[in-house]
């Protein structure tokens, strides 16, 4: 643990790695030291490698635009090694960043022709990413600071007067119904296999009326289904309806002996 920064200090004593208020800074601030048992908590506090790098930079009051790559890389690697030693699960992103830092560092060491326009500062991409991440880290903090529901913003709860709550009933017009019927029939026509029998509405209706009169386990006299006032047509329709119901096994006719009253009973 102690040799962690010793090496740094030897190297750093030869050159300032940062300017703080114009003064060269050659000693790493002691508050960078973190006891090992606190390390896990410490690392969990980071939202990834960019966050860790930002921390390293900020702790030393370094300008993000002028990252001393060698130093930062060294410190970063130390943390990674520590995490490794402590067998902490290391997110892959941390290793990707380690290799990116190593690459930048090696490119910085290469001599570059003077006078020619540099293609790129090897650090440019890293700086861009650090800045962009920092920008949204700040935005998240700002967002968190906004007054918000459940914390600062509460709703008023005024006692309501007694109001008659009416449950609205769905309105249907006869047109809606007829159009629906026409559509379904039109659609059914396309299914040739569906055969709808030829039947009259009035008989169908009478079938419903007959069934409606029947209660299960109850016998109703046959003649009760005929109303003379309806005339011949009405009697015929009723008769057809009963025949149809028998055919469809919906009702039974019962007669105990010849000329005895005929009873109608619903099946089931």
């Amino acid at each position: 643990m102690t040799d962690l920064f010793q090496e740094n200090q030897v190297n750093q004593s030869e050159m300032p790695f940062a300017l703080v208020e114009g003064e060269p800074l050659t000693v790493i601030p002691q508050d960078l030291y973190i006891p090992p048992d606190a390390l896990q908590v410490f690392l969990e506090a980071f939202e990834g490698p960019l966050d860790l790098l930002l921390y390293l930079i900020k702790r030393q009051n370094l300008d993000i635009l002028n990252i001393p790559v060698a130093i930062i890389t060294k410190q970063y690697m130390d943390y990674i090694q520590l995490m490794d030693q402590l067998a902490l699960e290391l997110a892959a992103e941390y290793l990707v960043m380690a290799s990116m830092l190593a690459e930048i560092k090696s490119r910085m060491l290469l001599p570059r022709p003077v006078g020619e326009d540099d293609e790129d500062d090897p650090r440019a991409e890293l700086i861009r990413r650090l800045q962009e991440y920092e920008q949204f880290k700040k935005a998240a903090e700002d967002l968190d600071a906004l007054p918000r529901e459940e914390r600062e913003v509460f709703f008023t709860q005024a006692e309501l007067p007694d109001i008659k709550e009416e449950v609205p009933v769905v309105e249907v017009t006869i047109n809606d119904l007829l159009m629906a019927f026409r559509d379904v029939v039109n659609r059914a026509e396309q299914f040739a296999s569906h055969h709808i029998e030829r039947e009259t509405l009035s008989v169908r209706e009478r079938m419903s009326i007959v069934l409606g009169k029947l209660k299960s386990d109850d016998y109703t006299e046959f003649k009760d289904f005929f109303n003379v006032e309806e005339g011949r047509m009405g009697v015929v329709v009723s008769f057809l309806a009963i025949l149809e119901l028998i055919k469809e096994s919906m009702i039974d006719l019962v007669q105990n002996e010849p000329y005895a009253p005929i009873y109608v009973k619903a099946r089931g």
Partner: protein, 220 residues
Amino acid sequence: MELQTLKPIIEALLSSADGPLTVNHLYDLFTGDLDQPGKDDIRKVLHELVDEYQGKGMQIKQVASGFRLQVNPEYSTWITRLFQQKPPRYSRALLETLALIAYRQPVTRGEIEAIRGVSVSSNIIKTLQEREWVKTLGHKDVPGRPSLYGTTNEFLDYFNLKSLNELPTLSELKDLDQFHPELALNDDDIAVTADEPAADKEGDTETAQQQPDGIDQAAS
């Protein structure tokens, strides 16, 4: 605490509480504050607030269990409207099911499904029964003993029909559509078509003769 500082805090507390607050409860909420107000101050502010809210949309009112913010009952007309739900619309599936029950009764769910080509959800049947437009007439004596559905008098009443005969035949429906596409079936058309005295024997016969065509067409 100054009364003028105290007032909006009490106002805020009354407006967010979900029930009346007593002077004692309010007093307790200031525990720990450097200049905790006295109960007399709280009482005084409450009565000032009661007066201040006269004639507003809300009022602060003392009830048996304390002080509360309530909506001024004078405006309940509009509050009622606020909570009035828009009547929902019935689905196409429901209307088609209803129409098939009306025209094809007594009919089983399976038969409706066969014509519609899709299954009929139990919810639809339930809704129609709750609305008392459709009832179970009995059970068909086939395996599974499915319910036979038919329409009710409530159904006829709702659609202002004396009997099912007043429903137009399918051919009439189609003709209307064909000859007056711009009319697209308004109630007047139906009334004319359906204007058939039920008691009239000849009318009955005619209707009876018309129906098969209409229904048959649906099948062919």
